[in-house]
Amino acid sequence: MKRMANIDILPMACVGLILVLVMMVIAPMVMTHTQTHVDVPMAHTAETKTEENLTITYTNEGRLLVNDMEILPSELGQVIAAELEKDPFQLVIVRADKDVLHNDVLEILASVKQVGAKRIACATKKPKGD
């Protein structure tokens, strides 16, 4: 009796599994646009979608970074204006630490608005179990 030939799907399953693991590790790095750790506030609302954006990070120590490049507060308007020249409708995300003063964040938002940003969002994180 002639035996039926089976397709060996073990290598395919292994490759699939490895791909999933690689995606799990790489995806957060690729999609957050910044490596600077900031403890952003929790919020249930999630309005922003994953898209190309300009990320302004304001840490608890008072450091200000635009797309992971540290700048002085006085340079913020100039840097943002240069970036917005490429795309005026670019989403500007302000990632501020939850413990900073709101007035400091307002200063950043005002500078961003002043140079013509059309879409501004405050970065938040979804609470666990949401």
């Binding site: 089976n6 799907i9 073990l10 399953a13 699939g16 599994l17 999933v20 693991l21 995606m23 799990m24 995806a27 957060p28 999609m31 957050t32 952003v40 506030p41 929790m42 919020a43 249930h44 609302t45 999630a46 309005e47 922003t48 994953t50 995300i93 990632r95 501020a96 630490d97 939850k98 413990d99 900073v100 003063l101 709101h102 007035n103 400091d104 964040v105 307002l106 938002l109 005002a110 961003v112 608005k113 002043q114 879409r119 501004i120 969002a121 405050c122 970065a123 938040t124 994180k125 979804k126 666990k128 949401d130």
Partner: protein, 137 residues
């Protein structure tokens, strides 16, 4: 001799059982899908009208002004309310408002987290637009 051959055929390996492997892979994918919103940051769109405008607006609409004080108190249209009461009143006010705009202002030493909590609550209760008011210095 014939019996020996049959036994040999019965013990021939039947191939690997992939069910458990596929199950684990599927569980990982589902876990990945479920946990991904926790890894990624999202955001709330805000508007910054700049300095506080003096004078009344031309359009008559229900106003939703929230002011956060340094001591943690919340003022909703000039009245002190608790966070729970704010959550109750916001939907009522927003339902009667055309623009569904919530304006949030703060004292000088309010933490950013408190403001985002209020913005988040306003969005959850149906606010269409959020504006952060910056007072003139």
């Amino acid at each position: 001799m014939r019996r020996h051959r049959r036994l040999k055929f019965e013990h021939e390996p039947q191939g690997l059982i992939l069910n458990s492997l596929v199950d684990i892979a599927l569980s990982l994918v589902i876990g990945f899908i479920v946990t991904i919103p926790l890894f990624f940051e999202s955001g709330i769109f805000v508007n910054t009208p700049g300095v506080a405008k003096a004078g009344a607006s031309d359009v008559s609409d229900i106003k939703v002004n929230i002011h956060l004080l340094d001591d943690g108190s919340i003022l909703l249209n000039e009245e002190i309310v608790s966070y729970e009461r704010l959550a109750e009143l916001l939907p009522e006010l927003l339902a009667r408002s055309v623009a569904r705009k919530v304006i949030v202002s703060t004292d000088a030493n309010v933490r950013y987290e408190q403001v985002v909590t209020v913005l988040d609550l306003a969005k959850q209760k149906g606010a269409g637009q959020l504006a952060l008011l910056r007072s003139k210095r």
